[in-house]
Amino acid sequence: MEYSISTFEKLLYACNQNNKKIYEIMQEKEAFDFEISTEEVRAKTLKNINAMKDAIISGLCSSEKSFSGLCGDDTAKLKEKYKAAPALFGNLFEKITTYALATMEENLRMNKIVACPTAGSCGIVPAVIIALAQEKDVTQDDEVNALITAGTIGYIISTKVAMAGAVAGCQAECGVASAMSAAAATQLLGGSNKQIINAATLALKNVLGLTCDPVGGLVEIPCVKRNAFLAIHAITAAELVLANVESKIPPDEVVDAMVQTGQLMSPLLKETSMGGLATTKSGIIINRELQKKEGI
């Protein structure tokens, strides 16, 4: 079907008019736009879910460091910790945090991941969807529905701003991934269309202003750990909306605020590594060591 869903308002309207869930509208739109069947859209989505699972599985059993030697063994540490002392918030919390780190560490080892929406934020959506799906024992179709729902959120936000730290800071990478995950979690937990969008909105609102200041320009510090934080952050948003807590600022206006915040953000804090953590005393020392390693 030919749907116009360039804003959250239009998306909700299309859902209500057709009495459909968000993922149904999106899969029909994608099928229409690219002249393929909705089954093909779902098969492509499933392929991505399987790649996400593979990355988690390999990431959980490795502690190989990255080229820089800075990161790569946090998943192993966290697993050890949980073995000795289970997480205060239980199994789901353990899974989400370890899956997010495992995926990001696979990324920095130059192994295979799914950019979602970007490589630097690749741990968040898989951690939330796959951990929650395991805990709730849902079907494969439910996982696909959740990932399409997450993708719809990113799709709409990206009509207004490119998903790149260089354009709008980390709010456009890990921030958007957290909003996407909040929507996916709400879909998995049986929330309404309005609640799903609301969850994304609450999550996005809470990351406005998040900068991109990676040490040495690498997708490592603070990216790896941030993925674990923002995956948990998504669950907070889902819990709030399922209690019918609503964002007082409508979704599209929050996206506008994010775009404006991205424009106002200093270029020094947008993936140039010329400010923030990158230019702390320790950040500079790490960068200098790295330059030696790069042979420049």
């Binding site: 999106m26 899969q27 994608e30 736009d33 690219f34 859209v41 492509k44 989505t45 392929k47 991505n48 790649a51 990255s66 080229f67 820089s68 696979e106 990324n107 920095l108 080892r109 130059m110 192994n111 295979k112 991941i113 799914v114 950019a115 979602c116 929406p117 970007t118 490589a119 630097g120 690749c122 959506v125 990932l147 399409i148 997450a150 993708g151 719809t152 990113g154 799709y155 990206s158 009509t159 490119a162 998903m163 790149a164 260089a166 354009v167 996407m180 040495g216 320009g217 690498l218 997708v219 490592e220 790295l290 330059q291 390693k293 790069e294 042979g295 420049i296």
Partner: protein, 222 residues
């Protein structure tokens, strides 16, 4: 403008760690391969600015070589490309430079073999790339379209002769850019197409008088 997709957000399945510095590097390598049309004997990769500064940490060096050898963004060969058999048949070197006149993520492929060619490209973010120069000519190849590249003698009627052949095949032209050294000298044409073009039409275009060079650069799948 490109039709936006759900899978711009969820995808690609790729080798980490960076969409711009790793996946983008592979895609630039693939485009350079498609333009050069064969594996060169020797390549010098000139990396500029951020590509030069953080390239090794992001595997940009490996990605460029892997793409040039024909591996895709999700290939497991990228990480160990230097040990890959195909890499033993080609001589490669890297140079690192800072140049404020170039894009932050810029690269030149200086290719030597049956012909010598320099191809310049940029990784413009989120895995998107563009080839901006082949030898001295400006181009605009993003890999999102099947793209036809021509070098020819600048003279009246060339554009219409080429476009007629494309039209006869019922292919829609999405965009067309031209550039030339000077009036009457060598010119270049860069045509983005909405569908695949047959070898037959390529051959007919090659047969046009004063067309020196034709390349059909296929759309990148990922």
């Amino acid at each position: 403008m490109k039709q936006r997709s759900l899978f711009d957000v969820i995808s690609p399945i790729m080798t980490g760690p960076s969409s711009s510095h790793t996946a983008g590097a592979v895609r630039l390598g693939l485009l350079a391969r498609n333009i050069y049309k064969e594996t060169p004997n020797k390549v010098t990769f000139k990396l500029y600015n951020s590509f030069a500064q953080t390239g090794k940490g992001h595997g940009t060096d490996k990605g460029l070589l892997a793409g040039l050898l024909g591996f895709g963004v999700d290939s497991e060969q990228i990480k160990n490309i230097y040990n890959c058999e195909l890499a033993q048949n080609i001589e490669y070197t890297y140079e690192f430079e800072q140049n404020i006149d170039r894009h932050p993520n810029a690269v030149d492929f200086v290719l030597e073999g049956n012909i010598n060619m320099t191809i310049s490209g940029n990784s413009v973010g989120a895995g998107n790339v563009e080839i901006v120069k082949i030898d001295d000519f400006s181009t605009r190849i993003s890999g999102e379209y099947n793209t036809l590249i021509l070098f020819y003698k600048d003279k009246p009627g060339m554009i219409s002769r080429v476009s007629t052949l494309i039209q006869d095949e019922n292919i829609n032209i999405a965009s067309l850019d031209c550039d030339r050294n000077a009036r009457g000298e060598t010119a270049s044409m860069c045509i983005c197409l909405d569908s695949k073009i047959s070898d037959e039409v390529i051959r007919k275009i090659e047969e046009i008088d004063d067309v020196y060079f034709v390349r059909n650069v296929k759309r990148l799948e990922a």
